[in-house]
Symmetry: C4
Amino acid sequence: MLASLPRPRPVVHRHPGTRIATAGGESLLHVGTSRLESFSDGVIAVAITLLVLGISIPNPAKHESLIYQLGQQWPQYAAYVVSFVTIGIIWINHHAMITRLDRADHSILILNLLLLMTIGILPFATGVMAAYLREPQSQSLAAGVYSGAFLLMAVAFAALNRHILLARAHLLSAELSLDERRRILARSVTGLPPYVVATLLAFVSSYITLGICAAMAIFYALPVASGQGRQA
Amino acid sequence: MLASLPRPRPVVHRHPGTRIATAGGESLLHVGTSRLESFSDGVIAVAITLLVLGISIPNPAKHESLIYQLGQQWPQYAAYVVSFVTIGIIWINHHAMITRLDRADHSILILNLLLLMTIGILPFATGVMAAYLREPQSQSLAAGVYSGAFLLMAVAFAALNRHILLARAHLLSAELSLDERRRILARSVTGLPPYVVATLLAFVSSYITLGICAAMAIFYALPVASGQGRQA
Amino acid sequence: MLASLPRPRPVVHRHPGTRIATAGGESLLHVGTSRLESFSDGVIAVAITLLVLGISIPNPAKHESLIYQLGQQWPQYAAYVVSFVTIGIIWINHHAMITRLDRADHSILILNLLLLMTIGILPFATGVMAAYLREPQSQSLAAGVYSGAFLLMAVAFAALNRHILLARAHLLSAELSLDERRRILARSVTGLPPYVVATLLAFVSSYITLGICAAMAIFYALPVASGQGRQA
Amino acid sequence: MLASLPRPRPVVHRHPGTRIATAGGESLLHVGTSRLESFSDGVIAVAITLLVLGISIPNPAKHESLIYQLGQQWPQYAAYVVSFVTIGIIWINHHAMITRLDRADHSILILNLLLLMTIGILPFATGVMAAYLREPQSQSLAAGVYSGAFLLMAVAFAALNRHILLARAHLLSAELSLDERRRILARSVTGLPPYVVATLLAFVSSYITLGICAAMAIFYALPVASGQGRQA
């Protein structure tokens, strides 16, 4: 390092989260990824923790005993666990996706916002599933809402990933060949078909749908997924 | 950058978030913007995620079918989406606004707190709108509360931005000419009239108000807004 | 810097938030303040945003009009605003208090946890105040709970500040004379008497108590407080 | 600084949170611990603050006076305090555990997620305890659920700590001898037996269980625990 080169753009080092790149006189806002990450982390952390509000606290005023009431609400526990692990894995994947970025532009912020919106409704979808899992009339629709919400989230994730890898490749922090980027994207898309199947099979049985969503969560949590299937 | 300018105050590098500038013996607290950002991010992330609590989970004990109940509560979905995107865009703009600051003083912290307060009530305003959108008697008032809350938020945002750009220009991280600062501020203010109109038209129809608020959210989310209208 | 000393413990620079100081073979945990700040910010941000859940959304099924219902719940708005600004100011002061610290030890973490606990119950105390402000029988008790909760928070704050400034002065990032530390502490303690008075006067009128709490919030928000009274 | 020492891996300084270590051509994701910490902090901060929703706001429409209603719900206060301090201590310990890590891999992220899931259900377990503490029929089960949830959390914590210290020792930021690692782990495991006892004694009396859980919280909060028992 020469004395005559006093570390260009130290601003980046002082405010790692944000910076304004003024290119060619036009004021384009390029945002560092720190605050994008911290806001996304916040939304995901709140959404994942709000899931607990979907587990209703039994009421002592009711005639049923506590053990009976706790037993009756097992769909709430099942839906809680599946949703918690699924959101947690989305967080891991989101982390990997944003890590590849050096900075973000407006389009990335907006697509990320839409992704966060699909994560934000999961406490609602989880609640519908838990409430109607065993209702003969409506369980299919409830299960469809549930895995449909996961599908929507997976689509939003793949769309953002595609946008980053193909349309905004110049914002990546390391250069990746087109092949590499396509391979990462392909992994991202492999999560979609199972949710499509789960949503369709909701009209056969809500239990099958819940089972597929649970299997997806377990699969991505397993070590085997970390090298290949996950990380998209 | 000349060698004779040895970058004063390297302390910034060790504790990027906070620092105490002792000017002239008097102890004035100047706060780095990191923790201001992280607190604001937290409040905005919680507020945006709490919106989901405004979508009520249908009740299996009711006579109506799940599909009917889900259909009936479409105003909740519409209000959720519009509010989510609007808060998300405010977050993006807040980010841009704070990025310009090198450090904050007491007045900025307090005005920022008032802005956060207007964001914090949006889950309430959204809930009122969703509950009364189709009530003949009260829909106007509900829509007025809704867009009135957005208007309040936009006013608080513009007030803070004005304070930063005009009264606290010496706290900016990069020097901006008065013209530039006025242009940024003008963009910030252009968001106000549509919300005034939306609030006034609430007394014609709540649907028009919701439509204007939705159009605002879409406009600011579009790429075209990123260069000119947004980023204020 | 000699070539044989390759930058001792760069770990501190790489993980600014945390570090382990191993003094004399004994493993004492000294925690950097970054994560202490981020956790505290999180709790305070969630608590301040949960306040909105204390404003009940009017029910279209009720006979009363929306405007009547909204008007009836003005104590909820008043309590919301006072609590929001008070928590916000505590956040600013917490920020200033932690900024003085270079690192934290176990005792600071625990006292900080107790402070956060007193902040965490404010949504409850605010809800009690809002529900009973106009109840002839119980308004005194409700107002006492309300300002009592603020008093408790102010006591926890002063206790932590006293512990840091007097018992843990060696953990401060800059050396402060005993006089300076006592002056800072004195400012911290001046907030207590008004809350004692507000709590006692609750048994005269709940409105007086609310008024004193509101006056406290306004006083600390004013610029005049930033130099002298605040910042403790 | 000599010209021959060009500061290896400055990337770490630019993006302290995340980095991708590409080892031997295979793309293994190694995650810096910053964002792991910030996400965990977020979940723990939300969970600890949601506890307040378990304290119900008395209803003015009821016949009982406010003072009677407040008095009746003392189990809610007791459960709130015990759970708040317990979660707070888990946060401190989590902090110490993650501090030892230089970076995380998939298995650590997943085990951490399971730990967060056990923390996330504590508002539910706390609510059950508070609701049934004095119900003759069901208090044993409620207390068992309560301390059982703490036990589950302690097991998840010890499992993650064991995984880090024994199976992933190469990811630690400082080299620790096997003896040291075993000693740290042993401290981590000493928290389990009291919760086992508390869960078993739930079938004698819910008050004993609550007392043991409270004693655990107080013990770990005391200074004496910081050197020896805590910090696991």
